[in-house]
């Protein structure tokens, strides 16, 4: 990851994902700087799970994430706007299903 360091003396950026409890997916909670993956994991523990927010942590080098561009927003997302039949709105949700 040292190649990803923007400038000398600057630690690379990592994105942090925390699973808040069993059964849920890891969710992005923020980012941090760390010299390597092991330290990133520990920094994430100290920064993002101080108040018992999680049971599992992933850290990912920010440089390894390929993101969609705001310039592509229209082509990427607008075509889904009028496809109402893709939403499961015509079904009754059974009682007791929390995370659909």
């Amino acid at each position: 990851m040292s190649a990803a360091a923007a400038t000398a003396g600057e630690w690379p950026l990592w994105e942090v994902f925390v699973r808040s409890r069993r059964g849920l997916s890891h969710a992005h909670v923020g980012s941090l700087h760390a010299p390597d993956a092991e330290m990133a994991l520990r920094n994430a523990r100290d920064l993002y799970t101080r108040r018992q927010e999680g049971v599992s942590i992933w850290v990912v080098p920010a440089a390894a994430i390929t993101a969609s561009s705001p310039d592509e927003k229209d082509a990427f997302f607008d075509p889904a706007a009028d496809k109402v039949y893709r939403h499961p709105t015509f079904y009754a949700v059974p009682d007791g299903v929390e995370h659909l």
Binding site: L32, H33, A34, P35, E38, M39, R42, D46, L47
Partner: protein, 276 residues
């Protein structure tokens, strides 16, 4: 530190049937462990806003708060077993803020000033947390319920502190030529204060005999074994110095503690009884 304190372990009432001598020694022992934690909490707190990165500020502050959280029940318990001249129990605040340096019974290792040297900070933390981890792991099975409860909670904290220090010693020791040289200098600087952790005396001997305390000498092999293995992996040399500083358990301290206590106690002494 205004952060809400971790759930304190409530000191249990002194067993009335216990030998008064054992009670007094247990108070002395709790005071020693509490002073170790309190003084190092203050030292670690000095790094907040001065660590190499913001992330490390938070990591060191977390460790400082863990130590402060250990000091509180230990000092409360000590205060209940070592009452003041009027016979009333002394509070944790009274013990933390109103004693002079000769009354502090921490080992000298924890009072040493880092003087902004991050290598010193992690070298000391490596040794101290390795010692605390072994100590608390044993003390969790002690026959004294309060000490056992504090130890059972704190042993996980100490394990994390030890891991944090280990990560840094490995990276700095086995890093650049400059970081290696500075990390070695830091280890050399704290080494003369290591043996004091393992010195038994009349208090620990009498308590260890009844299962209240851990014999400090029994911790030497596992602690030095762990630390030496980390130093070796970090390509650092285990110092061969024979210099041993000692006396902290009996109130003999280095110059550094006076400055530390001045900062720790200044507000409480300037505004007696103040609260918010």
């Amino acid at each position: 530190m205004t952060e809400p304190a971790p759930t304190p372990v409530t000191p249990t009432a002194v067993t009335p049937t216990r030998d008064p001598r054992i009670s007094y020694d247990a108070g002395t022992y709790a005071l020693r462990l509490g002073d170790d934690a309190l003084v190092l909490a203050q030292r670690m707190g000095e790094w907040v806003a001065s660590a190499p990165q913001l992330e490390e500020d938070v990591a060191l502050a977390n460790i400082a708060l863990d130590l402060l959280g250990q000091a509180r029940p230990l000092l409360s318990y000590a205060g209940s077993l070592l009452p003041g001249a009027d016979g009333a129990a002394r509070s944790e605040d009274e013990l933390a803020y109103l004693r002079d340096e000769r009354d502090f019974t921490n080992v000298q290792l924890v009072e040493l000033a880092d003087n902004g040297d991050f290598g010193r900070c992690v070298a000391r933390l490596l040794v101290f947390s390795a010692w605390q981890q072994e100590l608390y792991a044993s003390l969790a099975g002690a026959s004294d319920d309060t000490l056992a409860a504090v130890a059972a909670k704190a042993v996980k904290e100490a394990a994390y502190h030890r891991d944090h220090a280990t990560q840094w010693v490995l990276r700095l020791g086995d890093g650049t030529a400059e970081s290696h040289q500075r990390m070695q200098a830091a280890v050399d600087a704290v080494w003369p204060y290591v043996e004091e952790l393992f010195e038994p005396d009349a208090v620990t001997s009498s308590l260890a005999a009844v299962g209240v305390a851990v014999d400090p000498a029994s911790l030497r092999d596992p602690v030095l074994g762990y630390v030496s293995a980390v130093l070796e992996r970090a390509t650092l040399a285990v110092p061969s110095t024979r210099v041993r500083h000692s006396g902290g358990r009996h109130g003999i301290h280095t110059e550094a503690i006076g400055h530390l206590l001045a900062e720790l106690q200044h507000v409480a002494r300037s505004h007696p009884g103040a609260s918010w």
